[in-house]
Point group: C3
Chain length 173, copies 3
Protein backbone atom coordinates (compact mmCIF):
# COMPACT_ATOMS: atom_id res chain seq x y z
CA UNK A 1 0.00 0.00 0.00
CA UNK A 2 2.78 2.35 0.86
CA UNK A 3 4.33 1.81 -2.58
CA UNK A 4 1.10 2.63 -4.30
CA UNK A 5 0.89 5.92 -2.43
CA UNK A 6 4.47 6.79 -3.17
CA UNK A 7 4.02 6.08 -6.82
CA UNK A 8 0.92 8.24 -6.94
CA UNK A 9 2.85 11.05 -5.36
CA UNK A 10 5.60 10.58 -7.89
CA UNK A 11 3.13 10.62 -10.76
CA UNK A 12 1.33 13.63 -9.40
CA UNK A 13 4.49 15.61 -8.95
CA UNK A 14 5.59 14.76 -12.50
CA UNK A 15 2.23 15.60 -14.01
CA UNK A 16 1.75 18.77 -12.03
CA UNK A 17 5.19 20.11 -12.97
CA UNK A 18 5.01 23.46 -14.73
CA UNK A 19 6.36 23.44 -18.28
CA UNK A 20 9.24 25.75 -18.93
CA UNK A 21 10.59 27.74 -21.87
CA UNK A 22 13.93 29.53 -21.61
CA UNK A 23 15.24 31.80 -24.33
CA UNK A 24 18.78 33.08 -24.77
CA UNK A 25 18.06 36.42 -26.46
CA UNK A 26 21.35 37.13 -28.22
CA UNK A 27 20.26 39.12 -31.26
CA UNK A 28 19.35 42.79 -31.27
CA UNK A 29 17.45 42.53 -34.55
CA UNK A 30 13.87 43.77 -34.67
CA UNK A 31 12.48 40.60 -36.25
CA UNK A 32 14.35 38.23 -33.92
CA UNK A 33 13.34 40.21 -30.83
CA UNK A 34 9.76 40.01 -32.10
CA UNK A 35 10.19 36.22 -32.26
CA UNK A 36 11.60 36.17 -28.70
CA UNK A 37 8.66 38.08 -27.25
CA UNK A 38 6.01 36.31 -29.34
CA UNK A 39 7.27 32.94 -28.09
CA UNK A 40 7.64 34.24 -24.52
CA UNK A 41 4.14 35.72 -24.29
CA UNK A 42 2.55 32.79 -26.13
CA UNK A 43 4.16 30.27 -23.77
CA UNK A 44 3.38 32.33 -20.70
CA UNK A 45 -0.28 32.64 -21.75
CA UNK A 46 -0.70 28.87 -21.58
CA UNK A 47 0.93 28.58 -18.17
CA UNK A 48 4.61 28.04 -18.96
CA UNK A 49 7.34 29.43 -16.75
CA UNK A 50 9.27 31.64 -19.18
CA UNK A 51 12.82 32.88 -18.70
CA UNK A 52 14.64 35.23 -21.05
CA UNK A 53 18.39 35.53 -20.67
CA UNK A 54 19.46 38.68 -22.51
CA UNK A 55 23.05 38.69 -23.75
CA UNK A 56 25.21 40.67 -26.20
CA UNK A 57 23.02 42.64 -28.63
CA UNK A 58 19.92 41.35 -26.88
CA UNK A 59 20.79 43.46 -23.83
CA UNK A 60 19.74 46.43 -25.89
CA UNK A 61 16.09 45.43 -25.45
CA UNK A 62 16.14 45.88 -21.68
CA UNK A 63 18.06 49.14 -21.34
CA UNK A 64 16.21 52.00 -19.64
CA UNK A 65 17.62 54.58 -22.03
CA UNK A 66 16.21 53.69 -25.39
CA UNK A 67 17.28 55.40 -28.61
CA UNK A 68 20.86 56.34 -29.45
CA UNK A 69 22.18 56.79 -25.92
CA UNK A 70 25.73 56.61 -24.60
CA UNK A 71 25.10 54.03 -21.89
CA UNK A 72 28.16 52.12 -20.66
CA UNK A 73 31.39 52.74 -18.76
CA UNK A 74 34.26 53.73 -21.06
CA UNK A 75 34.57 55.13 -24.56
CA UNK A 76 34.14 51.92 -26.56
CA UNK A 77 31.07 50.66 -24.65
CA UNK A 78 29.47 54.08 -25.20
CA UNK A 79 30.26 53.87 -28.91
CA UNK A 80 28.60 50.47 -29.23
CA UNK A 81 25.62 51.63 -27.16
CA UNK A 82 25.18 54.55 -29.53
CA UNK A 83 25.15 52.35 -32.63
CA UNK A 84 22.97 49.66 -31.06
CA UNK A 85 20.39 52.28 -30.24
CA UNK A 86 17.75 50.24 -28.42
CA UNK A 87 14.42 48.67 -29.31
CA UNK A 88 13.16 51.67 -31.24
CA UNK A 89 16.03 51.62 -33.70
CA UNK A 90 16.62 47.86 -33.90
CA UNK A 91 17.28 46.88 -37.54
CA UNK A 92 15.72 43.94 -39.34
CA UNK A 93 18.08 40.97 -39.84
CA UNK A 94 17.39 40.90 -43.58
CA UNK A 95 16.14 43.39 -46.19
CA UNK A 96 16.67 46.24 -43.75
CA UNK A 97 16.66 48.72 -46.68
CA UNK A 98 18.91 51.22 -44.92
CA UNK A 99 16.76 51.20 -41.80
CA UNK A 100 13.24 51.77 -43.15
CA UNK A 101 12.14 48.13 -42.75
CA UNK A 102 11.41 48.16 -38.99
CA UNK A 103 9.02 51.06 -39.63
CA UNK A 104 7.37 49.14 -42.47
CA UNK A 105 7.02 46.10 -40.19
CA UNK A 106 5.52 48.22 -37.41
CA UNK A 107 3.05 49.62 -39.93
CA UNK A 108 2.15 46.13 -41.21
CA UNK A 109 1.76 44.85 -37.65
CA UNK A 110 -0.56 47.69 -36.69
CA UNK A 111 -2.57 47.46 -39.90
CA UNK A 112 -3.04 43.70 -39.46
CA UNK A 113 -3.85 43.98 -35.74
CA UNK A 114 -0.73 42.11 -34.68
CA UNK A 115 0.90 43.27 -31.45
CA UNK A 116 3.93 45.48 -32.08
CA UNK A 117 7.29 44.69 -30.46
CA UNK A 118 6.76 47.33 -27.75
CA UNK A 119 3.32 45.88 -26.97
CA UNK A 120 4.79 42.38 -26.79
CA UNK A 121 7.47 43.55 -24.34
CA UNK A 122 4.76 45.15 -22.18
CA UNK A 123 2.69 41.96 -22.35
CA UNK A 124 5.72 39.91 -21.26
CA UNK A 125 6.09 42.15 -18.20
CA UNK A 126 2.42 41.77 -17.29
CA UNK A 127 2.62 37.98 -17.76
CA UNK A 128 5.57 37.82 -15.35
CA UNK A 129 8.07 36.54 -17.86
CA UNK A 130 11.41 36.40 -16.02
CA UNK A 131 14.06 38.74 -17.45
CA UNK A 132 17.72 38.01 -16.71
CA UNK A 133 20.87 39.79 -17.91
CA UNK A 134 24.09 38.01 -18.85
CA UNK A 135 26.94 38.93 -16.53
CA UNK A 136 29.78 38.39 -18.98
CA UNK A 137 28.24 40.43 -21.79
CA UNK A 138 27.59 43.25 -19.30
CA UNK A 139 31.30 43.21 -18.39
CA UNK A 140 32.31 43.40 -22.04
CA UNK A 141 29.86 46.18 -22.89
CA UNK A 142 30.46 48.13 -19.66
CA UNK A 143 26.85 47.86 -18.49
CA UNK A 144 25.50 47.67 -14.94
CA UNK A 145 22.22 46.40 -13.51
CA UNK A 146 21.08 50.00 -12.96
CA UNK A 147 21.20 50.55 -16.75
CA UNK A 148 18.33 48.09 -17.17
CA UNK A 149 14.58 48.31 -16.66
CA UNK A 150 13.46 47.29 -13.15
CA UNK A 151 11.77 44.13 -14.51
CA UNK A 152 15.24 42.58 -14.88
CA UNK A 153 15.19 40.12 -12.02
CA UNK A 154 18.84 39.25 -11.78
CA UNK A 155 22.27 39.24 -13.39
CA UNK A 156 23.40 35.70 -14.12
CA UNK A 157 26.37 33.73 -15.37
CA UNK A 158 25.98 30.66 -17.57
CA UNK A 159 25.88 28.11 -14.69
CA UNK A 160 23.01 29.90 -12.90
CA UNK A 161 21.10 30.24 -16.16
CA UNK A 162 21.52 26.52 -16.93
CA UNK A 163 20.08 25.69 -13.51
CA UNK A 164 17.05 27.91 -14.15
CA UNK A 165 16.54 26.48 -17.65
CA UNK A 166 17.01 22.87 -16.55
CA UNK A 167 14.15 20.52 -17.34
CA UNK A 168 12.52 22.73 -19.99
CA UNK A 169 13.04 23.73 -23.58
CA UNK A 170 15.83 26.22 -24.33
CA UNK A 171 16.13 28.27 -27.50
CA UNK A 172 18.98 30.47 -28.74
CA UNK A 173 17.62 33.37 -30.77
CA UNK B 1 2.52 -8.37 -8.44
CA UNK B 2 0.26 -5.62 -9.59
CA UNK B 3 2.97 -3.04 -8.95
CA UNK B 4 5.46 -4.98 -10.99
CA UNK B 5 3.06 -5.01 -13.94
CA UNK B 6 2.30 -1.34 -13.64
CA UNK B 7 5.93 -0.47 -13.55
CA UNK B 8 6.61 -2.55 -16.61
CA UNK B 9 3.86 -0.76 -18.43
CA UNK B 10 5.31 2.55 -17.35
CA UNK B 11 8.77 1.53 -18.54
CA UNK B 12 7.47 0.22 -21.83
CA UNK B 13 5.49 3.34 -22.57
CA UNK B 14 8.52 5.48 -21.81
CA UNK B 15 10.86 3.37 -23.91
CA UNK B 16 8.49 3.00 -26.84
CA UNK B 17 7.84 6.75 -27.12
CA UNK B 18 8.86 8.18 -30.49
CA UNK B 19 11.61 10.76 -30.33
CA UNK B 20 10.75 14.19 -31.60
CA UNK B 21 12.59 17.09 -33.23
CA UNK B 22 10.84 20.42 -33.79
CA UNK B 23 12.44 23.25 -35.71
CA UNK B 24 11.35 26.88 -35.77
CA UNK B 25 12.50 27.84 -39.27
CA UNK B 26 12.82 31.63 -39.00
CA UNK B 27 15.61 32.42 -41.44
CA UNK B 28 15.20 32.62 -45.20
CA UNK B 29 18.93 32.18 -45.82
CA UNK B 30 20.04 29.43 -48.17
CA UNK B 31 22.60 27.96 -45.77
CA UNK B 32 20.28 28.03 -42.74
CA UNK B 33 17.41 26.46 -44.71
CA UNK B 34 19.87 23.77 -45.79
CA UNK B 35 20.60 23.17 -42.10
CA UNK B 36 16.86 22.99 -41.32
CA UNK B 37 16.19 20.38 -43.99
CA UNK B 38 19.37 18.39 -43.34
CA UNK B 39 18.44 18.07 -39.67
CA UNK B 40 14.79 17.33 -40.50
CA UNK B 41 15.51 14.58 -43.04
CA UNK B 42 18.34 13.11 -40.94
CA UNK B 43 16.10 12.89 -37.86
CA UNK B 44 13.16 11.56 -39.83
CA UNK B 45 15.33 8.86 -41.41
CA UNK B 46 16.06 7.39 -37.99
CA UNK B 47 12.42 7.40 -36.95
CA UNK B 48 11.96 10.78 -35.27
CA UNK B 49 8.70 12.69 -35.51
CA UNK B 50 9.83 15.94 -37.13
CA UNK B 51 7.91 19.22 -37.09
CA UNK B 52 8.97 22.38 -38.88
CA UNK B 53 7.25 25.60 -37.90
CA UNK B 54 7.94 28.13 -40.66
CA UNK B 55 7.83 31.77 -39.56
CA UNK B 56 8.93 35.17 -40.89
CA UNK B 57 11.54 34.77 -43.65
CA UNK B 58 11.27 31.00 -43.33
CA UNK B 59 7.75 31.13 -44.81
CA UNK B 60 9.45 31.84 -48.11
CA UNK B 61 10.51 28.19 -48.33
CA UNK B 62 6.93 26.86 -48.46
CA UNK B 63 5.32 29.30 -50.88
CA UNK B 64 3.85 27.81 -54.05
CA UNK B 65 5.04 30.67 -56.21
CA UNK B 66 8.79 30.54 -56.12
CA UNK B 67 11.02 33.17 -57.65
CA UNK B 68 10.40 36.91 -57.39
CA UNK B 69 6.62 36.81 -57.13
CA UNK B 70 4.21 39.35 -55.68
CA UNK B 71 2.44 37.01 -53.25
CA UNK B 72 0.61 38.71 -50.36
CA UNK B 73 -2.36 40.97 -49.75
CA UNK B 74 -1.47 44.67 -49.92
CA UNK B 75 1.38 46.68 -51.36
CA UNK B 76 3.99 46.22 -48.63
CA UNK B 77 3.54 42.44 -48.32
CA UNK B 78 3.95 42.18 -52.10
CA UNK B 79 7.11 44.26 -51.90
CA UNK B 80 8.65 42.00 -49.27
CA UNK B 81 7.56 38.90 -51.21
CA UNK B 82 9.35 40.26 -54.26
CA UNK B 83 12.61 40.84 -52.42
CA UNK B 84 12.45 37.57 -50.49
CA UNK B 85 12.09 35.70 -53.75
CA UNK B 86 11.71 32.11 -52.55
CA UNK B 87 14.01 29.12 -52.25
CA UNK B 88 15.63 29.59 -55.62
CA UNK B 89 16.90 33.07 -54.81
CA UNK B 90 17.60 32.64 -51.08
CA UNK B 91 20.88 34.38 -50.22
CA UNK B 92 23.66 32.92 -48.09
CA UNK B 93 23.87 34.37 -44.56
CA UNK B 94 27.56 35.21 -44.99
CA UNK B 95 29.88 35.85 -47.95
CA UNK B 96 26.92 36.14 -50.29
CA UNK B 97 29.11 37.99 -52.84
CA UNK B 98 26.21 39.94 -54.32
CA UNK B 99 24.12 36.81 -54.75
CA UNK B 100 26.48 34.43 -56.56
CA UNK B 101 27.21 32.29 -53.48
CA UNK B 102 24.03 30.17 -53.46
CA UNK B 103 24.88 29.13 -57.02
CA UNK B 104 28.42 28.28 -55.97
CA UNK B 105 27.07 26.23 -53.07
CA UNK B 106 24.61 24.41 -55.35
CA UNK B 107 27.53 23.62 -57.67
CA UNK B 108 29.70 22.38 -54.79
CA UNK B 109 26.81 20.26 -53.44
CA UNK B 110 26.17 18.63 -56.80
CA UNK B 111 29.87 18.07 -57.49
CA UNK B 112 30.36 16.46 -54.08
CA UNK B 113 27.20 14.35 -54.33
CA UNK B 114 25.50 16.17 -51.44
CA UNK B 115 21.73 16.64 -51.77
CA UNK B 116 20.81 20.16 -52.89
CA UNK B 117 18.33 22.25 -50.92
CA UNK B 118 15.50 21.45 -53.35
CA UNK B 119 16.27 17.73 -53.07
CA UNK B 120 16.28 17.98 -49.27
CA UNK B 121 12.86 19.68 -49.31
CA UNK B 122 11.52 16.90 -51.54
CA UNK B 123 13.02 14.28 -49.23
CA UNK B 124 11.36 15.94 -46.23
CA UNK B 125 7.99 15.67 -47.99
CA UNK B 126 8.52 11.99 -48.78
CA UNK B 127 9.64 11.33 -45.19
CA UNK B 128 6.41 12.89 -43.88
CA UNK B 129 8.10 15.72 -42.03
CA UNK B 130 5.26 17.89 -40.68
CA UNK B 131 5.19 21.41 -42.11
CA UNK B 132 3.38 24.14 -40.16
CA UNK B 133 3.03 27.86 -40.90
CA UNK B 134 3.09 30.58 -38.23
CA UNK B 135 -0.20 32.40 -37.98
CA UNK B 136 1.16 35.70 -36.72
CA UNK B 137 3.88 36.03 -39.36
CA UNK B 138 1.29 35.25 -42.03
CA UNK B 139 -0.85 38.12 -40.72
CA UNK B 140 2.12 40.51 -40.84
CA UNK B 141 3.19 39.45 -44.34
CA UNK B 142 -0.35 39.25 -45.73
CA UNK B 143 -0.11 35.55 -46.59
CA UNK B 144 -2.87 32.91 -46.58
CA UNK B 145 -2.77 29.12 -46.36
CA UNK B 146 -3.58 28.90 -50.08
CA UNK B 147 -0.26 30.64 -50.84
CA UNK B 148 1.62 27.62 -49.48
CA UNK B 149 2.42 24.19 -50.88
CA UNK B 150 -0.23 21.55 -50.03
CA UNK B 151 2.24 19.74 -47.73
CA UNK B 152 1.66 22.50 -45.15
CA UNK B 153 -0.45 20.65 -42.64
CA UNK B 154 -1.78 23.52 -40.60
CA UNK B 155 -1.51 27.16 -39.59
CA UNK B 156 -0.53 27.46 -35.94
CA UNK B 157 -0.04 30.02 -33.19
CA UNK B 158 2.70 29.69 -30.58
CA UNK B 159 0.58 27.78 -28.02
CA UNK B 160 -0.39 25.05 -30.51
CA UNK B 161 3.19 24.75 -31.70
CA UNK B 162 4.47 24.40 -28.12
CA UNK B 163 2.02 21.55 -27.55
CA UNK B 164 3.22 19.76 -30.69
CA UNK B 165 6.89 20.29 -29.78
CA UNK B 166 6.42 19.28 -26.14
CA UNK B 167 8.60 16.43 -24.93
CA UNK B 168 11.15 16.66 -27.73
CA UNK B 169 14.08 18.81 -28.79
CA UNK B 170 13.30 22.23 -30.26
CA UNK B 171 15.71 24.32 -32.32
CA UNK B 172 15.42 27.91 -33.54
CA UNK B 173 17.21 28.32 -36.87
CA UNK C 1 10.70 -5.00 -0.45
CA UNK C 2 11.96 -5.81 -3.89
CA UNK C 3 9.89 -2.95 -5.34
CA UNK C 4 11.31 -0.51 -2.88
CA UNK C 5 14.83 -1.45 -3.89
CA UNK C 6 14.05 -1.26 -7.56
CA UNK C 7 12.48 2.11 -7.17
CA UNK C 8 15.48 3.39 -5.29
CA UNK C 9 17.71 2.20 -8.08
CA UNK C 10 15.49 3.91 -10.58
CA UNK C 11 15.58 7.14 -8.60
CA UNK C 12 19.33 6.94 -8.16
CA UNK C 13 19.97 6.33 -11.80
CA UNK C 14 17.78 9.28 -12.70
CA UNK C 15 19.39 11.55 -10.16
CA UNK C 16 22.93 10.48 -10.95
CA UNK C 17 22.53 10.97 -14.70
CA UNK C 18 24.94 13.56 -16.05
CA UNK C 19 23.29 16.62 -17.56
CA UNK C 20 24.09 17.31 -21.16
CA UNK C 21 24.39 20.37 -23.39
CA UNK C 22 24.86 19.97 -27.13
CA UNK C 23 25.51 22.92 -29.41
CA UNK C 24 25.24 23.00 -33.19
CA UNK C 25 27.84 25.65 -33.98
CA UNK C 26 26.75 26.87 -37.40
CA UNK C 27 27.87 30.50 -37.41
CA UNK C 28 31.41 31.67 -38.02
CA UNK C 29 30.76 35.06 -36.41
CA UNK C 30 33.06 36.21 -33.64
CA UNK C 31 30.24 37.10 -31.24
CA UNK C 32 28.29 33.90 -31.83
CA UNK C 33 31.40 31.73 -31.46
CA UNK C 34 32.06 33.56 -28.20
CA UNK C 35 28.53 32.58 -27.11
CA UNK C 36 29.15 28.95 -28.12
CA UNK C 37 32.35 28.68 -26.09
CA UNK C 38 31.03 30.66 -23.11
CA UNK C 39 28.05 28.32 -22.84
CA UNK C 40 30.23 25.25 -23.43
CA UNK C 41 32.84 26.11 -20.79
CA UNK C 42 30.21 27.33 -18.31
CA UNK C 43 28.22 24.11 -18.61
CA UNK C 44 31.31 21.94 -18.49
CA UNK C 45 32.52 23.72 -15.34
CA UNK C 46 29.40 22.61 -13.47
CA UNK C 47 29.72 19.00 -14.59
CA UNK C 48 27.69 18.89 -17.81
CA UNK C 49 28.69 16.65 -20.69
CA UNK C 50 29.15 19.17 -23.50
CA UNK C 51 29.14 18.37 -27.22
CA UNK C 52 29.80 20.88 -29.97
CA UNK C 53 28.87 19.88 -33.50
CA UNK C 54 30.66 22.28 -35.87
CA UNK C 55 29.00 22.76 -39.23
CA UNK C 56 29.15 25.19 -42.17
CA UNK C 57 30.85 28.46 -41.13
CA UNK C 58 31.38 27.04 -37.65
CA UNK C 59 33.94 24.57 -39.05
CA UNK C 60 36.24 27.55 -39.40
CA UNK C 61 36.78 27.56 -35.63
CA UNK C 62 38.41 24.13 -35.58
CA UNK C 63 40.70 24.33 -38.58
CA UNK C 64 44.41 23.87 -37.92
CA UNK C 65 45.41 26.56 -40.39
CA UNK C 66 44.02 29.77 -39.00
CA UNK C 67 44.12 33.07 -40.86
CA UNK C 68 43.40 33.44 -44.57
CA UNK C 69 44.53 29.98 -45.70
CA UNK C 70 43.55 27.99 -48.77
CA UNK C 71 42.40 24.83 -46.98
CA UNK C 72 40.05 22.58 -48.96
CA UNK C 73 40.09 20.35 -52.03
CA UNK C 74 39.21 22.21 -55.23
CA UNK C 75 39.18 25.85 -56.28
CA UNK C 76 35.84 26.93 -54.78
CA UNK C 77 36.44 25.38 -51.35
CA UNK C 78 39.82 27.14 -51.27
CA UNK C 79 38.12 30.43 -52.17
CA UNK C 80 35.63 30.11 -49.32
CA UNK C 81 38.38 29.06 -46.92
CA UNK C 82 40.29 32.19 -47.82
CA UNK C 83 37.36 34.48 -47.15
CA UNK C 84 36.28 32.68 -43.99
CA UNK C 85 39.75 33.13 -42.61
CA UNK C 86 39.48 31.35 -39.26
CA UNK C 87 38.96 32.42 -35.66
CA UNK C 88 41.41 35.30 -35.83
CA UNK C 89 39.54 37.04 -38.62
CA UNK C 90 35.97 36.08 -37.70
CA UNK C 91 33.70 39.10 -38.20
CA UNK C 92 31.06 40.30 -35.74
CA UNK C 93 27.46 39.50 -36.79
CA UNK C 94 26.42 43.14 -36.39
CA UNK C 95 28.20 46.51 -36.42
CA UNK C 96 31.32 44.89 -37.85
CA UNK C 97 32.55 48.34 -39.03
CA UNK C 98 34.54 46.92 -41.92
CA UNK C 99 36.29 44.39 -39.72
CA UNK C 100 37.58 46.49 -36.82
CA UNK C 101 34.89 45.32 -34.35
CA UNK C 102 36.40 41.95 -33.41
CA UNK C 103 39.57 43.80 -32.41
CA UNK C 104 37.53 46.26 -30.36
CA UNK C 105 35.74 43.37 -28.67
CA UNK C 106 39.04 41.62 -27.94
CA UNK C 107 40.31 44.85 -26.41
CA UNK C 108 37.14 45.28 -24.32
CA UNK C 109 37.33 41.64 -23.18
CA UNK C 110 40.94 41.94 -22.09
CA UNK C 111 40.39 45.31 -20.41
CA UNK C 112 37.40 43.95 -18.48
CA UNK C 113 39.14 40.69 -17.55
CA UNK C 114 36.74 38.58 -19.59
CA UNK C 115 38.26 35.55 -21.31
CA UNK C 116 38.92 36.17 -25.02
CA UNK C 117 37.57 33.79 -27.65
CA UNK C 118 40.95 32.06 -28.01
CA UNK C 119 41.15 31.59 -24.23
CA UNK C 120 37.61 30.17 -24.19
CA UNK C 121 38.52 27.66 -26.92
CA UNK C 122 41.58 26.60 -24.91
CA UNK C 123 39.45 26.27 -21.77
CA UNK C 124 36.95 24.10 -23.66
CA UNK C 125 39.79 21.76 -24.66
CA UNK C 126 41.05 21.52 -21.08
CA UNK C 127 37.50 20.89 -19.81
CA UNK C 128 37.11 17.98 -22.26
CA UNK C 129 34.28 19.53 -24.23
CA UNK C 130 33.62 17.10 -27.11
CA UNK C 131 34.27 18.58 -30.56
CA UNK C 132 32.58 16.98 -33.58
CA UNK C 133 32.66 17.99 -37.25
CA UNK C 134 29.65 17.76 -39.57
CA UNK C 135 30.23 15.27 -42.37
CA UNK C 136 27.94 16.88 -44.94
CA UNK C 137 29.34 20.39 -44.53
CA UNK C 138 32.86 18.95 -44.86
CA UNK C 139 31.84 17.36 -48.18
CA UNK C 140 30.45 20.66 -49.45
CA UNK C 141 33.48 22.69 -48.35
CA UNK C 142 36.03 20.08 -49.44
CA UNK C 143 37.46 19.62 -45.94
CA UNK C 144 38.93 16.47 -44.37
CA UNK C 145 39.43 15.41 -40.75
CA UNK C 146 43.16 16.09 -41.09
CA UNK C 147 42.36 19.79 -41.68
CA UNK C 148 41.06 20.08 -38.13
CA UNK C 149 42.72 20.38 -34.74
CA UNK C 150 43.39 17.00 -33.06
CA UNK C 151 40.77 17.75 -30.36
CA UNK C 152 38.07 17.00 -32.97
CA UNK C 153 36.87 13.62 -31.74
CA UNK C 154 34.90 12.45 -34.73
CA UNK C 155 33.17 13.31 -37.99
CA UNK C 156 29.42 12.81 -37.68
CA UNK C 157 26.24 12.86 -39.71
CA UNK C 158 22.95 14.15 -38.31
CA UNK C 159 21.72 10.76 -37.01
CA UNK C 160 24.88 10.14 -34.95
CA UNK C 161 24.76 13.66 -33.57
CA UNK C 162 21.11 13.26 -32.55
CA UNK C 163 22.00 10.11 -30.65
CA UNK C 164 24.81 11.90 -28.81
CA UNK C 165 22.59 14.90 -28.02
CA UNK C 166 19.61 12.78 -26.95
CA UNK C 167 18.29 13.42 -23.47
CA UNK C 168 19.92 16.83 -23.05
CA UNK C 169 19.45 20.41 -24.18
CA UNK C 170 20.40 21.26 -27.76
CA UNK C 171 21.04 24.76 -29.08
CA UNK C 172 21.56 25.97 -32.66
CA UNK C 173 23.91 28.96 -32.68
Amino acid sequence: MIYQTEKNNLNNSVMAEQKKLSIISFSGDFDKLTAVFTLATGASAIGYEVNIFFTFWGLDAIKIKQGRSLVGRGFLPKLFAFFMGGLKSAPVSRLNFGGISPGIFRHMMRKNNVATLEELVDAAKVLNVNFYACEMAMHILGLEKSDFIPEVKDVLGVPSFLKIADGGQTLFI
